[in-house]
């Protein structure tokens, strides 16, 4: 299969070029499904070891064995892009995937979020992640599994708590409150200076007022802990920054999922349609896989309780290209992320065609369609994506004794944090911060609650 697929890939690239797709080179690799599984779990081909990946791995392994999910491709944008294809999938499936990957590569080269991520994290994240994984493995040898795990427990738990609007190599806060403008030299001060007598003691520059840390509530918990944890070792800081950097890299993939998958689906469909070099049988099978991938429903069902991002993105892009042509679509590809894409281009008419609805599921299992209103559809679709999908927790204060005070923006999130999990996370943080950590949130009735780790629990 490898040779034929390589042939097709070359022809697809040729065709893609003539259709105006523009991308950095793509490095295709056929790998065994076990490797695919690992790549999709770790998010990167080689990444730091942590037991939580093991849990996901086994869970996914069970799912795959039961036939509930099939992984088609994993692609890592960069220069070159790295695409992994499963060597157990059929030639037709892999032909489709090859075309699909070209769509992703085009997207990753032009979308603003991806471009920024590349500026910040570089174009060789796969290699960098492997290097960091090796450093962490060396740290395990040097400092012991327990110590490294303690740091990773905390860093990976806070993986989503970064501030993507800041630079990766972000400077610490100014130590002093910036001073006000110098007092203008007026008549009095010049006469005062000219007074006879002993020369004034050489005046040291007066240290300004120390600026509070953090100056404003800080959302980038990973950065804050790496920067300000009272007793963090250098190797521990390095781990925190490694997790943070990978998190920056993942953000565009997360925030553009609908757009990106839709764009790739549009282009694989188009490339397939125009691929005259494909034998009939391969073409038919590939088109069939395509319609499975972009089908909103699983199997024979006519109803789904989640919107398939492939289908949704594909449908929106088709509509855009119909109305504005490919050039218009390219502008949108460059500038939007899922938030803008869904809000601006999923209109009531399209939602109606796609039969989208908002449902409400009660715990006991009763599910009711509550709305078809376009505004609430937008918000429901995007709700899991806000703030990298995590509750908004920020550092509000670092006390003089080193106590870290976190605040959960429960008003924005609509309800409080899950206490059990929050306390566990505080515990993770405490083991690295090594000073008490407290968190303000609310309980289910909206009354404020303070959770603590490492502090005297009696007060």
């Amino acid at each position: 299969m490898a040779e034929r697929l390589a042939q097709y890939a070359a022809r697809f690239e040729e065709l893609a070029g003539s259709l105006g797709l523009d991308y950095d080179p793509v490095d295709f690799e056929l790998v065994p499904p076990a490797f695919m599984l690992e790549v999709s779990i770790y998010g990167l081909p080689v990444r730091m070891p942590h037991w939580s990946f093991g849990v996901r791995y086994i869970y996914q392994l069970v799912q795959t064995r039961m036939g509930n999910s099939q992984i088609f491709e994993v692609v890592f944008p960069g220069d070159p892009n790295r695409a992994y294809l499963a060597d157990t999938n059929s030639l037709a499936e892999n032909s489709l995937v090859t075309a699909h990957v070209l769509g992703h590569a085009d997207f990753a080269k032009h979308n603003a979020l991806f471009q920024r991520s590349r500026q910040e994290a570089g174009a060789h994240i796969v290699e960098q992640a492997a290097t960091r994984a090796r450093r962490i493995e060396r740290a395990i040898v040097e400092f012991g599994q327990g110590s490294v795990e303690r740091v990773l427990d905390c860093a990976l738990a806070l993986e989503q708590h970064i501030d993507v609007n800041q630079a990766i190599g972000r400077a610490p806060y100014p130590v002093y409150v910036p001073e006000g403008p110098q007092r203008a030299a007026d008549a009095f001060s010049s006469r005062f200076r000219d007074l006879p007598g002993e020369p004034a003691a050489s005046v040291k520059p007066v240290a300004g007022r120390r600026a509070p840390v953090p100056a404003r509530p800080e959302n980038d918990l990973l950065w804050f802990i790496a920067q300000y944890a009272p007793e963090l070792e250098d190797w521990e800081r390095e781990i925190f920054l490694a997790v943070r950097e990978e998190s920056f890299y993942f953000y565009p993939l997360f925030a553009c999922q609908i757009m990106n998958e839709g764009w790739a689906a549009y282009w694989h469909a188009r490339l397939l349609r125009e691929a005259t070099f494909l034998p009939e049988s391969v073409y038919v099978d590939a088109i069939k896989s395509h319609s499975d991938v972009v089908s909103p429903f699983a199997g024979e069902r006519r109803l789904a309780l989640q919107a398939n991002p492939y289908h949704l993105g594909f449908s929106i892009w088709e509509r855009i290209i119909e109305e504005q042509g490919v050039e218009g679509a390219r502008k949108i590809r460059d500038q939007e992320d899922d938030f803008g894409f869904v809000r601006n281009y999923l209109d009531a008419r399209l939602a109606e065609t796609l039969q989208l609805f908002v449902y409400e599921a009660e715990r006991r299992g009763r599910i009711e369609i509550v709305s078809k209103d376009i505004e609430s559809l937008h918000e429901r679709l995007l709700a899991p994506k806000f703030n990298y999908g995590a509750p908004r927790v920020s550092v509000s204060e670092m006390k003089t004794d080193g106590t870290l005070v976190l605040t959960h923006a429960h008003r924005t999130d609509g309800r409080g944090l899950d206490f059990d999990r929050a306390v566990k996370v505080l515990d993770y943080i405490h083991r690295v911060w090594r000073r008490p950590v407290i968190l303000h949130t609310v309980d289910f009735q909206g009354a404020s609650r303070v959770l603590k780790a490492g502090a005297d629990r009696s007060d």
């Binding site: 490095d27 849990v55 789904a304 009660e362 429901r380």
Partner: protein
């Protein structure tokens, strides 16, 4: 497109991290172990020295919002506002998404080696280690190799040493003969007293009609852990299982706990039986002997004196005698029961005996702990 590279098959990071997760679970389980195993049916398969414990996945916690009563989402398909949908599986997983909230629902079986468990329990409870008997009265002497000499029986000639000596000698007189008498080295033996590292454990169980299934189970669990603890200390442990009603029988370990008898209780028969076996098989100079008796406390009043005599005689030959009283609905309660009284008498007389009331599974560890700490104290007192 590059070719399939075989070495991708060598990647097993997922499996590695999975094993690490299991290791963590083991640690976690270990902390809860005593509660976990006190209730479980452990020795139903005595040859399989492992216990299976069902556990759930660990969760790597993250900040998450509280669960609300209702969940909102976007779906797709035919339907109008206000329609109530029959619950269906929530479609396909779209992309290869990371495992979601289902993680906590899977559980799996972890197997623990009984020996490991015992080690943990000892660590956990800081239980002392029993010391094997070591008394001058015992003829437990042993010949051990000790040093070399120029004279000795030919059978104990150490050829390697002899050759070495010859080489050394010829280094200074190269023309000398190959071997001379001075080169010969013989292994020497010395007599050393050897501590007795064998134990014999008698388990005596009252299987009369008054003993219920749950009581037998308590006794069984106690026996099991006591035996494991003793096994830890001795190189070789022999077990004897005796069950009695008005008569007594010896059983194999397998059948022993399944035995259910009818009728009343004459404990002296079992004690006499144990005494016979003791004399027959286990010479006190070769074995540390332990006896555990489990009963609900009843015994025929007519048997009082016979039982007392048998116990008196038995306790002379034993390192220790333990009595486990499982709760019963009888009028008398520990230690006012017939058997409770007898053992209390032995203890009072300064014999190595003790009694443990067992009412619930929770009591087992207390009993085990007090057994081993008392034993260790008693033996320290004897020798130290």
């Amino acid at each position: 497109m590059s070719e399939t590279r075989q070495w991708y098959d060598l990647f097993s990071r997922g499996a590695r991290d999975w094993l690490r997760h299991n290791e963590k679970i083991r640690d976690a389980v270990r902390r809860e172990l005593p509660d976990l195993i006190a209730g479980s049916d452990l020795i139903s398969r005595p040859d399989n020295r492992a216990v299976q414990v069902p556990v759930r996945f660990l969760e790597h916690a993250r900040f998450r919002l509280q669960d609300s009563d209702t969940r909102m989402g976007v779906g797709q398909g035919e339907g109008q506002t206000g329609d109530v949908l029959t619950p269906v599986d929530s479609g396909r997983d779209g992309a290869a998404k990371a495992a979601g909230q289902g993680e906590g629902e899977l559980s799996f079986l972890l197997e623990f080696k009984t020996d490991d468990i015992i080690d943990w329990v000892w660590e956990e409870f800081k239980l002392p280690h029993l010391k094997p008997k070591l008394s001058p009265a015992m003829a437990g002497d042993d010949w051990v190799r000790e040093g070399w000499d120029r004279r000795g029986a030919r059978a104990r000639l150490d050829r390697r040493r002899t050759l070495k000596e010859a080489v050394k000698r010829r280094a200074v007189e190269p023309a000398g003969p190959a071997f001379v008498d001075e080169d010969l080295r013989f292994r020497q033996l010395a007599r050393r007293p050897r501590p007795i590292s064998a134990a014999a454990v008698f388990f005596v169980l009252d299987v009369s009609a008054s003993m219920e299934e749950s009581q037998r189970r308590l006794a069984k669990t106690f026996f099991f852990w006591a035996l494991q603890g003793i096994r830890r200390q001795y190189a070789r442990v022999e077990t004897v299982f005796i069950a009695h009603t008005v008569r007594s029988w010896e059983f194999g370990e397998d059948e022993f706990f399944q035995v259910k008898g009818e009728g009343g209780t004459v404990a002296s028969t079992a004690f006499a039986h144990a005494l016979d076996l003791l004399h027959e098989r286990f010479h006190p100079s070769r074995y540390n002997c332990y006896l555990f008796y489990a009963s609900d406390g009843d015994n025929f009043t007519e048997d009082h004196h016979a039982a007392q005599r048998a116990l008196d005689e038995l306790v002379q030959c034993l390192s220790f005698m333990g009595y486990v009283e499982t709760a019963s609905d009888a009028l008398a309660h520990f230690p006012d029961t017939e058997m409770g009284g007898l053992f209390a008498g032995l203890e009072y007389a300064g014999h190595p005996a003790a009694s443990y009331p067992l009412n619930r599974a929770d009591d087992i560890w207390g009993a085990i702990r007090s057994f081993f700490s008392e034993r260790s104290r008693a033996e320290d007192g004897k020798h130290g």
